[in-house]
Each structure stands twice: as structure tokens, then as C-alpha cells.
Symmetry: C2
Subunit: 155 residues, 2 copies
């Protein structure tokens, strides 16, 4: 079952040496997803509503969709296998809807540009909580974090 | 006037501390364009026909277009102002064509994924040759380059 989630953090995780985005469900469970630097930067820019003089790749992609009358209606983070997350982007136009598989980072970078809701599958939450020994590991992570300037973002 | 050009180099330029792509016209003039690291990596992957397990952003963008029956028919690098290049992507479907402004790096990253031809405007070639004192500066650049492993690419 899918549950709506919000982005509650986007920081640079020194342990993983990679940016990490946190999605939090209405019930308070947190799902951390490690993503690439360009995608993290793109998500941060969109969350901050910063518009650059020159559109970056996700902006170009969005502008292309808008030109065609298509928007992102929702993004589902569907599954996790061997530590890798898989997402699905839902697109909609006046007369049709369709979906595409994508990396969560691209999917979220597009979702935030359309203010589209994010959903996380139950099975991911279960797996993450299991792995983290009832969240203790992630709590430890959060406690020990010394976020880099670039990526700290609270929403 | 636009002239067709080929990608003849994609290297890391230590002087600029940025990747540089070189477009060469049929008449032998070379136009260097400095681009971002993620875009350079994306172009290199596409030129090498390397397919990753997970599509990167330009692959996702391409897959989206293919799903809609749209392709990139050509890319024009149209102008240069204050050292910044501007490009235009030409899209085509069965029943229509349209264009969008883009950064040259995004435009080229998409063009190579569709084997679409690249064109460079005359005015850019004139400006680049002027600035380089008949090409001496670029020749110097090329001579002194110590390309990083990641980006060296000869086509």
C-alpha cells in the first residue's frame, strides 16, 4: 500500500559521501534515500524555488512537458531491492495518463517542479525500519550528521 | 548561416577546471564549449553507447520522448554572448515540429541519443577564431592538455 510522504530533509551525508533525501510519512516513519550530487542540487534548487538564468536538465524536461500540455501528477517510490530504490513517475495530460520507471532522484526532481505528491510503498518502510533496528540506526545517523553547507534544507 | 559540425573531442580541461567539448565543422574550424561535469558524463556515456542499468536523466528524457513518438531532429548552437553559448533543440513527431532553447550541453546530450546532426552558427566560429588569435590560443590549449581519464574521447 502506498502512503503519502513529504520531503523533510536534504543533506550531504558524510558517512555515505553522498547526498541523502529523507521522505517522511504522515505516520512519522522516515525513509532515507541516497542520491547523486547533480540530482540533489536539482532538487534543492526546485525546493527553494530558485530559478537560474539557464534552465538545468530537469527544468528543460519540465518545460518540454509543459509545452506538450503534460504534467507530473504523482511519484511513487515503489520498491527497494539490494539497497536500490525504484520509482515510478505518473504523467497526465488532458486526455491521457501514463507512467514511466525512473530513479527516485529524477522522479522527485520532476515531482517538486510540478508540486506533485510523493508516495512511498509500505514494503519499503518495513524494510527500512527492519534494517535500522527500529530506527535506531537512522536516529544515530541524524544525530551524528555534520551537514555540508550546500545541501542542508529543512522544509 | 549554420554549418554542420561533429563532436571531435570531449576532455577535462584542467585550465578551466571543467569539461570541454569540441565541435568541428567540415571546413576544419573548431569550437570549444565548456560544460558541466554531469552533462559531460552524460554525453560521454551516450557517445560510447554505454547503457547503464539505471537510466540517467537524459536517458529518462529520451525515453519519455520516444514514448510520445517525438525525436530530436537536430541541434543548433546558435549564438555566443559574453562567453556563454546558446543552443536550440529541434523536435519532430509524425505531425509536427517545434524548437526549444537549451544549454548546449543538454542539447548535445539529447542529440547524441538520437543520432541527430549538430550545427554551429557562423557568427560563433568567427568570434571564437577572433578571440583565439587565429586559433593559436586553442592550439595552445590542445597542446598543453593533460586529459583526465574520465573524459578523453576521440570520435
Amino acid at each position: 500500500m502506498l502512503r503519502e510522504a513529504k520531503i523533510t530533509g536534504l543533506i550531504f551525508d558524510p558517512d555515505a559521501n553522498a547526498p541523502r533525501i529523507t521522505l517522511k510519512t504522515g505516520e512519522g516513519e522516515e525513509v532515507p534515500i541516497w542520491i547523486g550530487m547533480p540530482e540533489a542540487s536539482s532538487i534543492a534548487l526546485a525546493l527553494r524555488k530558485t530559478s537560474l538564468e539557464r534552465p538545468i536538465t530537469h527544468d528543460l524536461f519540465k518545460n518540454f512537458m509543459v509545452l506538450l500540455g503534460i504534467h507530473v501528477s504523482r511519484v511513487d517510490v515503489c520498491s527497494i531491492r539490494d539497497g536500490t530504490y525504484y520509482a515510478e513517475i505518473h504523467f497526465a495530460s488532458n486526455d491521457s495518463t501514463f507512467t514511466m520507471d525512473a530513479r527516485p532522484s529524477d522522479a522527485i526532481a520532476l515531482a517538486v517542479r510540478f508540486d506533485a505528491p510523493l508516495y512511498v510503498d509500505d514494503t519499503i518502510i518495513t524494510e527500512v525500519l527492519d534494517k535500522s533496528e527500529d530506527g535506531a540506526k537512522w536516529a544515530e545517523y541524524l544525530k551524528n550528521l555534520n551537514p555540508e553547507d550546500f545541501g542542508e534544507f529543512e522544509v
